[in-house]
């Protein structure tokens, strides 16, 4: 890293800022739905989307209220109503994943044998109901072969292959996976993972080396789009003036 200059804003866009942009894009053209970001960079992305190209998004305060960008309460969303919002479909969540496979099966429950796990994690939480009812995207802050695996240990969020096998595709949709290296979707063969873009500074080879299966790569893979000057200003001055984003994703 170069020496920080506090008097003029840095011209270069950080990796974390590309990640915020890539997360924000998940909620483009979503209309009047609840944006449910899990994690820091997805929540910056959701706020950026609402402040710019998706102003109709709904956000929560992390507890039981629907709030505007300035924190003004506009609605009530306790857990019981939140769960109805999920099954009603008016929500796009971006969850994390301890493991995710090529068809988007996700695990946040445990690592190893479920009967006696090597590492107990959160439990399945709402991943099963989320994936069958409202769009679910994923945010992976450290793209690695430990997370992108051939087979997940406990399917919490349902991927495309298993949704098809179980006949539950009616409202099943996984729009995108954003990592610190790039953006993927499920437009590969048989709804498998496809590399959509790499963040500037990352190569396709970097992504392939950090992925435990081979995602589809078609033609020249573009870079994740540049933020506009106004988006950069919003991220740096309004949404995350403390620079917390650069602690989650470095470089």
């Amino acid at each position: 890293m170069t020496t920080a200059d506090t008097t003029t804003a840095p011209r270069t866009v950080s990796r974390a800022e590309y990640c915020v942009i890539a997360c924000a894009e998940a909620w483009r053209d979503n209309g009047e739905v609840l944006a449910s970001p899990m994690g820091l960079i997805p929540s910056f992305g959701a706020r950026l989307a609402k402040r710019s190209f998706s102003p109709d998004l709904l956000l929560t305060d992390g507890e039981a209220m629907l709030v505007g960008l300035d924190g003004t309460a506009e609605g009530w969303l306790p857990y019981r109503r939140h769960l109805t919002m999920v099954t009603g479909g008016r929500r796009h969540v971006m969850m994390g994943a301890s493991q995710i496979d090529r068809f988007g099966n996700q695990n946040i429950s445990c690592i190893g044998d479920w009967e006696r796990p090597a590492r107990q994690l959160l439990g399945v939480r709402g991943a099963p109901v989320n994936t069958l009812n409202n769009p679910v995207s994923y945010w992976i802050p450290k793209h690695s072969t430990r997370v992108f695996v051939e087979r997940v240990d406990m399917v919490s969020g349902v991927g495309y292959d298993r949704a098809e096998a179980a006949g539950v595709t009616r409202f099943h949709r996984l729009p995108r996976v954003v990592s610190d290296l790039g953006v993927l979707d499920f437009a590969g063969p048989g709804h498998s993972m496809r590399l959509v873009s790499v963040h500037p500074g990352v190569t396709v080879e970097d992504v392939l080396a950090a992925t435990g299966f081979e995602p589809a790569v078609t033609g020249e893979v573009p870079y994740t789009r540049e933020p506009t000057a106004e988006e950069l200003r919003l991220i740096r001055e309004v949404i995350d003036p403390k620079g917390l984003r650069d602690r989650e994703v470095r470089g």
Binding site: W76, E115, P117, V129, L132, V158, R162, V168
Partner: protein
């Protein structure tokens, strides 16, 4: 009318080993911790615990009181992984019925409505079906013909919940933003015990908050206990926030050391005194 006020010890006196016990709140939020601590002081064990899990699950698991846990997660919220739940799972200390959050909610609704099950679009395609082979599905009898999971009713012998205010008859009020599922827990149980920050006259309830804050009604309540700071160290807004410093201590201290210092007293009063002393030492 019946005065249902009692002490935590009297509540626990009506519970037995082997029972199925539901615990209200969510994660590390408005948990009936004083009643859980009373359970810990008793010899009651071999429990089936039904909970949107937080430190209630962690404490009971660490103390070896759980035979089966029914839960979609266990978390301390600000600390994502509940350390004692985690440790207990990693030594296979209890049997787990791992359900999705919505499946769990519809299981409570089914129990409260005396239905055998309710259908839900969740679980299919996930390993929830693999690890719960007893789960069955139903097919919609209408034109859509959709296959849904029939979540069985989560009936319980007893429910423990904590609210902000209650009267001696068993009417109870939440003053924070989220009711969680405490009314359903009470209605899903054969006997429900409500602890509260403050016991008040019935007439005070309607003055303290709007009509819809009167979440739990006396017909579904067996006993009421006044336990100030009784949700500690979980949050009980607006009365108090989560005690983050103490929760961190709980999460980072070996179980026996923590239990010796904070849970070895004769009653809830001793616990609260030990917590006060610890906070004074931190200054």
């Amino acid at each position: 009318m019946t005065d249902k006020s009692m002490t935590p010890e009297e509540v626990v006196g009506q519970l037995h080993s082997g029972m199925t016990i539901g615990i209200g709140g969510w994660g590390s939020r408005r948990k009936p911790m004083a009643l859980v601590r009373a359970l810990l002081r008793s010899g009651i064990t071999d429990l089936t615990v039904i909970s949107y899990g937080g430190p209630d699950v962690g404490l009971l698991a660490a103390a070896g009181r759980i035979r089966r846990l029914v839960a979609p997660f266990a978390t301390l919220d600000s600390i994502p992984l509940e350390p004692h739940f985690r440790a207990a799972r990693e030594r296979a200390a209890f049997t787990l019925t791992e359900l999705d959050e919505a499946m769990f909610m519809w299981g409570l609704h089914a129990a409260a409505n005396r239905l055998p099950f309710l259908p839900v679009r969740a679980g299919l395609g996930s390993d929830v079906m693999r690890v719960n082979p007893e789960l069955r599905t139903v097919t919609s009898p209408y034109d859509d013909g959709e296959e849904l999971v029939a979540v069985p009713a989560l009936r319980m012998d007893a429910a423990l919940v904590h609210l902000n205010r209650a009267d001696r008859l068993g009417n109870a009020q939440y003053l924070g933003p989220d009711p969680y599922f405490d009314d359903l827990f009470c209605e899903a149980a054969d006997a429900a015990y409500v602890s509260c920050e403050q016991l008040v006259e019935t007439a005070e309830l309607a003055k303290s908050g709007p009509a819809q804050s009167l979440l739990v009604s006396r017909h579904s309540v067996t006993g009421v206990v006044e336990t100030p700071n009784g949700a500690h160290f979980t949050s009980c807004v607006p009365d108090y926030d989560r005690d983050e410093a103490f929760q961190k201590l709980y999460a980072t201290t070996p179980w026996t050391v923590f239990a010796d210092r904070f849970l070895s007293g004769a009653g809830e009063h001793d616990y609260q005194a030990a917590v006060r002393t610890w906070h004074e030492e931190q200054q």
